[in-house]
Symmetry: C3
Subunit: 264 residues, 3 copies
């Protein structure tokens, strides 16, 4: 059975840099299926990369190798890691991009990529995705043991990012916009289970960008085109959307904007 | 031999939602080749999705499974269908997205997806592409019989869209812009056979957006850069293009704009 | 082992025209892995396509078939070629798109595609990528001999583009911007070996767009966010970048802008 390798980068859709990585991997090992997760991560936006990895990668078959290249520190002393988290395997710079995945549970194995045997010869200082991460992923697909890639490191020695939790009081929750998707929907850091504890969904108010939305509805079709709605997304997070429109434009907000849920 | 599954969505190029669908499919069945048709369908633009499906899917091998997720009614009572049309198989919401394909010929089989055995457990209300359509497509690739997916429905009980035909008189044809491609070329609903019946191609005039184009030429290189031309596209439809430019910008028109072909 | 076919076009990311080509290839031969190099080549920008092909394709396994469709002359008398260059194989219009690859070394085989047996029947005049190049590539993957595709042509009878070399004097090099990548980095036609012969990298000045950059640094992280830097890219070319920004916007320059490197 062929191995699966996924790619997540900030190189831009249709970037030929992605193709260079694919060429390197296929030159080392042909029996892989390469799947693009996203190449539209904002340039150097490690936090966005971390959210996309956490949402998408657990959907893949056990043992899939996920390569993540959002790497503003390329060529510096930042480490590159091999990590096992849940049933998945990762190759990524140690800059926090795995920290949304490790938020819930620690990695079960961390290796620092130091064995140059599995890199391209004469790696550049500006494209470790192609010269280190792609060839290491291809060798993992062949079956190279992770311990051959370099020394283990302590599981807590992984760079983290701050993932703010919503603040909860008796009658309200104050959270923030975590991520804006391609529909302009605002995905928040507030989860369904938190909101449900506040009371009946139809009598709650959600505030963001100076606007108040009454009630939380089940589907995008629950209001007229152009209306703002609040609902739960497919990961059980509170989401603000404009029916058949772009909530991010309508509300003129971006990530980290405050979102308040309260009982009337 | 591996199965082919294609994906057509309005999720935006490089959307991680697409990757979630791919992860779900590969987790159920590894022996598939997944091909992206387009993820740049305009948000909720079922008509555009229908045209893209009708243009692209008949090019694929017999038995290919095409999954189309342009689904503004997700989570509501709209049905999800499995359809066999020509030599191809489709999994899509019943919202008209198959209606350009069924315009010429009826489907040969329609099944309403109701058997939850082939869905993900606890499907969300906001992402049936991932939770229902992707797993059903993967099970079809494994070889699950369509009749196991749910009850058959009458072939005429499929939601349609209105596909306007050009109006024809003795010396002119009045049609409209059907679709604007990534080059800014205007693809019309007027076909070569209709135009040819009007007379010699070089003496016809094509009018759109207040401009008149003399003659219909064979290739994009038949005029100087910047000039407007009319020609037949690779599907034998009348097309208006700007040589090495964007006709949609030059003419300031969008879909449904009137296009008139007439004898001088 | 499955064959690899790559695609490079100016059709735009997520274009359904690309999917039509993939459907044609898979209908002829299923045992191929199709890899997208880029579909974001500027419309009709043969020079950009040539650079992307030269950078990316040598990374692929020996014998990979690379199909390049940047083809403003489609339907005219321009020829379509099969070429062997280095360890790679190419199918492309004869319009200069292979000329960056053949700049260093001549092709080892050139065939003019004339044998209609390997084309789709009734090819359109506007989409030879789908009707000629895709089916020819699929037949090559099956194992059709290149000489079956048409007559050989003399290796020097390939259309070229002018690739300007930097001008070199005792104490300076005058080159130009070759390419702007998706990060807004300016890739120049000046190579590391040329620059090194000028003297110590830290005491050189790089001028572009009316700004002077002191010294050439090793990595993107060598200055503060927002600062302009000069470094060598992963192909050993001089590159101008803005740390965590867009140098092309900051300098308001485009391709062919002059770049001067000199000793203080």
């Amino acid at each position: 059975m062929r191995s699966v390798i996924t790619l997540t980068t900030d190189f831009g859709p249709s970037s030929p840099y992605v193709a260079q990585m694919k060429g390197v991997m296929l030159s080392i090992f042909r029996e892989v299926d390469i799947v693009d997760i996203s190449h539209a991560i904002g340039p150097q936006n490690v936090q966005e990369g971390a959210i996309v990895l956490a949402d998408a990668t657990p959907r893949f078959p056990e043992g899939t190798i996920h390569v993540a290249v959002v790497d503003p520190g390329v060529g510096t002393s930042r480490r590159i890691l091999y990590a096992e988290i849940g049933q998945q395997r990762y190759v990524a710079p140690d800059n926090g991009i795995l920290s949304r995945l490790t938020h819930d549970r620690p990695p079960s194995l961390l290796i620092v990529l130091e064995n140059r045997k599995y890199w391209l010869p004469n790696p550049s200082l500006t494209f470790h995705g192609r010269d280190i991460m792609a060839p290491v992923a291809a060798h993992l697909a062949i079956g190279v043991a992770p311990d051959d890639l370099g020394p283990r490191c302590a599981l807590e020695h992984i760079v983290g990012l701050v993932w703010r939790q919503p603040l909860r009081s008796a009658d309200e929750i104050v959270g923030e916009v975590l991520y804006i998707d391609t529909f302009g929907n605002l995905i928040t850091n507030i989860e369904r289970k938190d909101v449900q504890s506040l009371g009946n969904l139809s009598s709650l108010t959600v505030e963001c960008g100076g606007q108040a939305i009454r009630g939380i509805v089940p589907t995008y079709d629950a209001a007229m085109p152009g209306e703002l709605i609040a609902l739960f997304d497919s990961q059980e997070r509170l989401e603000i959307a404009t029916v058949r429109g772009q909530a991010a434009c309508a509300l003129k907000v971006s990530t980290k904007a405050a979102v308040v849920v309260k009982q009337e």
